[in-house]
């Protein structure tokens, strides 16, 4: 197990390095930074001056090494528009986004897994059909539209939830439900198909042959095996939620990194964009490792060779 974990971490570190290279170069290939930094009215001399001031005249490899060296020490540079350093800015916004994505994921797991199980136990019943219909219908509605509709209904008409902002947990309800709604269908579908497969396995018959009652068979013998693929999916969904946060945070005016990314893209605040890109990618990498470890813990065939 330890060996397995070490190998995974090493692999993750390599992926992280690759990601940092991509994050760095992606921002640079989108156009000449000095030109866009200088603005519309700048003269050629101004541009050259800015190029020198920001060190953009040096070879790109040197620039990257410089940036990476500073980044590993926690120095991500200065924002062009905020007085804070990029790190202060991003780290103050990150908790909101993480809380939002986490709540969204928990909602989709709490809804998706039980409904997937029920659908598998009664395939083609009305509850199975209902679950699938809601799932399909949900995928067709755009996120921002869904968010706005919920806001109109629950905040404006019923007054149950605050309209926008991120001050209390009640502000998180609608955005989290909106986010969770989109990852519920895939989790539900995978739970359903995994459960259907597991329920017809020979070891389920063995469990019944031992005299176990349906509930222990379901929870101890079936579910444990059926959720293994769901873990990997959930980690991917969490990653999607970080990017989905860009839209949701704008709709609900929440000060998370999604909203910050959007603002920064409009203002061409490269140091911020680059850092957010890097951090979101790091989360993806970390989540992949985490889901591998959870899988190994759930499935002894991975853990014990």
């Amino acid at each position: 197990m330890l060996n397995f974990a070490l190998r995974r971490f090493l692999l993750a570190a390599l992926v992280a390095l690759t990601v940092s290279i991509v994050a760095f170069f992606l921002v640079r290939v989108s156009g000449d930074l000095a030109t866009s930094l200088a603005g519309q009215e700048a003269s050629a001399e101004d541009i050259e001056e800015i190029r020198k001031a920001y060190g953009l005249d040096r070879p790109i490899i040197v620039q990257y090494a410089d940036w990476l060296g500073a980044a590993v020490q926690g120095d991500f540079g200065e924002s062009l528009f905020f007085p804070d350093t990029v790190w202060e800015l991003v780290s103050s916004r990150l908790p909101t986004t993480l809380r939002l994505a986490m709540s969204g994921l928990i909602i989709s797991l709490l809804v998706g897994i039980p409904f997937g199980v029920i659908a598998a136990l009664r395939p083609n019943s009305w509850i199975d059909r209902l679950a699938m219909t809601i799932a399909v219908a949900g995928q067709a509605i755009p996120t921002f539209w869904m968010g706005l509709m919920l806001m109109v209904l629950f905040s404006l008409m019923l007054g149950w939830t605050p309209i926008s902002g991120d001050e209390s947990w009640r502000h998180f309800i609608l955005p989290a439900v909106t986010l969770g709604y989109y990852s519920t269908p895939p989790i539900m579908r995978l739970t359903r198909s995994g459960m259907l497969e597991v329920l017809s396995a020979d070891y389920i018959r063995t469990a019944y042959a031992k005299g176990l009652r349906p509930m222990p068979v379901l929870f101890k013998h079936a579910l444990r095996n059926a959720v293994i693929p769901v873990v990997a999916l959930a980690s991917v969904q969490f990653g999607h939620m970080l990017s989905g946060a860009i839209v949701i945070e704008s709709v609900f005016a929440m000060q998370g990194i999604g909203y910050l990314a959007w603002e920064s893209i409009l203002r061409n605040d490269i140091a911020v964009i680059q850092t957010i890109l890097l951090i979101v990618c790091m989360f993806y990498v970390f989540l992949t490792v985490l889901s591998d470890l959870v899988n190994a813990w759930l499935d002894p065939r991975i853990r014990v060779s």
Binding site: A209, K210, G211, L212, H221
Partner: protein, 334 residues
């Protein structure tokens, strides 16, 4: 003394897309304590469904009826699902054909062995563990205590089937049902496992329903034999009698590869009989074997009755014992 297991006129019907399938059509047999009944027959003749019907583990769509279906004091045909769950793995246990997939990959051998005992006897984990080690040693597994912490994928097929046998024995069942327990295993260990099973059956004085293709083993371990064809029992009797004087042409066809009783070849398989098994869908009349039988006459199209020869010896053929023995002579001459 009444038999441990009594089955009279057991039928199983399964609705399928083009009609109703009748895979088990009025089967009757009984098993005493300490007795082994071997059920033999070609693939698809309904052996597994018969055993699942007794265990109450038939697929949901399948319909079971029986005039009598009883184990010990319990009337299985009218038992609730709670009562069935209470005797399964307890007084009646089953060993399946597929050791590779019959154990849950997510739990240790120990966990899965202890489960039945904890469920039925409410003993402590330590007590259950003790019994698991004892039984693993009984089924010939070395280093039993260490095996408890292993996972199924760490064991070979043969070991897994030994674990399955130990698992079935956890609660000290009165009846053990083994459905082709060695078919999926390496040929070299098939006989080993079957003989182990027979030894344990004798030692613990259990009744055993053994479904197998291995006629060599049948000859060595069976007290009585029931030969099944197309959902019916076509011949029944003590092993010695059935091997010595098979009365049904189908039984003789099966034994064609091991002609000399007592000198059976180890691992001898069922002989292959030319022709196809009839469809089990829809109504069936007359002798089901008549399309493949060398002695078929027009009378066979309407003959179905079992000829009772006394002492549990019976067969299902239009020919009288004298006629069928004469036919047997002609078969051998041919």
């Amino acid at each position: 003394m009444s038999a441990l297991l009594d089955v009279q006129d057991l039928t199983v019907d399964i609705p399928v897309s083009d009609g109703e399938l009748h895979p088990v059509r009025g089967i009757s047999f009984s098993i005493e304590r300490g007795e082994t009944l071997c059920l033999v027959g070609e693939s698809g003749c309904g052996k597994s469904l018969t055993s699942l019907a007794i265990m109450g583990l038939l697929p949901k769509r399948a319909q079971r009826t029986a005039r009598v279906l009883r184990i010990g004091d319990l009337d299985i045909s009218s038992a609730s699902s709670r009562e069935m769950a209470h005797i399964r793995g307890n007084s009646m246990a089953m060993i399946f054909q597929e050791p590779m997939t019959s154990l849950n990959p997510a739990y240790t051998i120990g966990n899965q062995l202890e489960e039945a005992l904890i469920r039925h006897r409410r003993v402590s984990r330590a007590k259950a563990q003790e019994r698991a080690v004892y039984l693993l040693e009984k089924v010939g597994i070395t280093g039993a205590a260490g095996r408890l912490r292993q996972y199924p994928h760490q064991l070979s097929g043969g070991l897994r089937q030994r674990v399955m046998i130990a698992m079935a024995l956890m609660c000290g069942p009165e009846l053990i049902i083994a459905d082709e327990p060695t078919t999926a295993l390496d040929v070299t260990i098939q006989a080993q496992i079957l003989l182990l099973l027979a030894d344990l059956q004798r030692e613990f004085h259990m009744g055993m329903l053994l479904i197998t293709h291995d006629l060599g083993v049948v000859a060595r371990v069976a007290d009585r034999v029931a030969v099944m064809y197309a959902g019916q029992i076509v011949e029944q009797g003590t092993a010695a009698e059935v091997f010595e004087r098979p009365l049904h042409p189908y039984t003789r066809g099966l034994m064609a590869c091991i002609p000399i009783p007592g000198k059976t070849v180890r691992g001898g398989r069922l002989g292959s009989i030319p022709g196809l098994v009839p469809s089990l869908i829809g109504d069936m009349h007359g002798c089901a074997f008549r399309d493949r039988c060398a002695h078929a006459t027009s009378a066979c199209a309407s003959y179905e009755a079992m000829r009772d020869q006394g002492d549990g010896r019976a067969y299902r053929c239009v020919m009288t014992p004298e006629e069928t023995m004469a036919a047997s002579m002609r078969e051998q001459a041919a």
